[in-house]
């Protein structure tokens, strides 16, 4: 089952860095896994804990927030705030028995197309190793039981 498992990943990408880096990866014809669904945000500081939680609750197997390199945030400290929120969500996930590794904070600059692609590949692989989200698996099994 895990062999055929294709993780669904949500990436919240800052307009000023990671999103542009994704664009750069595209321009350079660097491929990255289609598992990663990008949501562009004006700054990672705009990403709230609830956005990450809702993504996981609605079926994402992993979520990462990709912001500017430390000290390079267009809005000064948005990426630092995002990193704090990611840590908070990780702690909450741990409390409810979901692997905190399913959520990560990543930083890069707008010119790092290669890094964007590598991050997408590495994170997809990490989630593939972790397996499907326990939330999604249990909910699906529950629905199957209810139908039969």
């Amino acid at each position: 089952m895990t062999d055929s498992f294709e993780p669904e990943i949500v990436a919240f990408c800052c307009h000023y860095c990671a999103y542009t880096a994704a664009d750069m990866a595209g321009s350079k014809r660097i491929s990255y896994p289609p598992n990663v669904k990008i949501i562009r945000v004006p700054c990672t500081g705009k990403v709230d804990a609830i956005h990450i939680m809702k993504a996981l609750e609605k079926g994402a197997d992993g979520v990462y927030v990709a912001g500017c390199l430390e000290g390079d945030c267009h809005f000064k400290t948005g990426n630092i705030r995002a990193a704090h929120r990611v840590r908070r969500v990780q702690a909450l996930l741990e409390e409810i028995g979901v692997e905190p590794e399913r959520v990560e904070m990543i930083t890069m600059s707008a010119g790092m197309g290669e890094r964007f692609a590598k991050t997408a590949r590495d994170f997809t692989e990490k989630i593939r190793q972790l397996g499907p989200s326990p939330v999604k698996t249990a909910a699906r099994d529950f629905r199957r039981r209810a139908v039969s």
Partner: protein, 222 residues
């Protein structure tokens, strides 16, 4: 404001586990300001509970409502239509809010989702410190605006004690000595001689010594 912190998920889950329909109620006042039980925290807790119970193969019906103020019967009345459709109420307000709900909706079990902690002020983003213990007889006017009851570890009315070192309290090097703060403040105001005025033993009857307290304003409580 009244400050609070969310209870551990394990404790919250144990409370609501036997039920299928939960009414999760936040409060827009103090707990919202200290990021413990406002609309955002309600959404976050609901999401965490959903995920936990989905993991167990259980669909939990969680209805989220955040009231303007949970410690006022007028606002708690707003729950009247939602309460019927729930098996239990989980409140993210301070203890006052939880008790107001419990008094109004006697037929429903009510659980607190936060631990009410203290009356405090915001030092900076994300940091709150205890500032008042509601002793009922404020002395801030003679202590330079620094409360020796809330901020001195020993609640000394005449300080500092021998445990004050370089402006810090002996219980923890990160805790300011309240009496050092009082001295510094009085000195800045040119009122340092006041430190030598002996304060008499405090009359604690205005505090909890007289049992649960009540304020009755005759002009309002008609």
């Amino acid at each position: 404001m009244i400050t609070a912190v969310r209870k551990p998920m394990e404790e919250i889950i144990a409370c609501v586990e036997p039920y299928d329909r939960i009414l999760l109620v936040g409060c827009n006042e103090c707990v919202s300001v200290c990021s413990a039980g406002g609309r955002k925290e309600v959404a976050l807790l609901a999401s965490a509970l959903h995920m936990h119970f989905m993991k167990q193969g259980k669909t939990m019906d969680i209805r989220e409502i955040t009231l303007e103020r949970q410690c006022d019967p007028e606002y708690v009345e707003e729950l009247v239509t939602s309460v019927d459709g729930s098996d239990a109420i989980l409140s993210m307000a301070c203890g006052c809010g939880v008790q107001t709900i419990a008094a109004r909706y006697r037929e429903k079990p009510v659980f607190p989702a936060v631990n009410t902690t203290f009356m405090g002020a915001s030092e900076r983003q994300g940091v709150w410190s205890e500032r008042c213990q509601g002793c009922g007889d404020c002395v801030l006017g003679i202590t330079g605006g620094i409360c020796p009851i809330a901020r001195c570890s020993k609640r000394l009315m005449n300080g500092p004690c021998g445990g004050s070192t370089k402006g810090k309290c002996e219980i923890d090097a990160n805790v300011d000595c309240a009496w050092q703060l009082i001295w510094d403040r009085l000195k800045a105001l040119g009122l340092e001689r006041r430190i030598e005025d002996i304060m008499e033993a405090k009359d604690w009857r205005t505090s909890r010594d007289g049992g649960p307290r009540k304020i009755i304003r005759e002009d309002l409580a008609s």
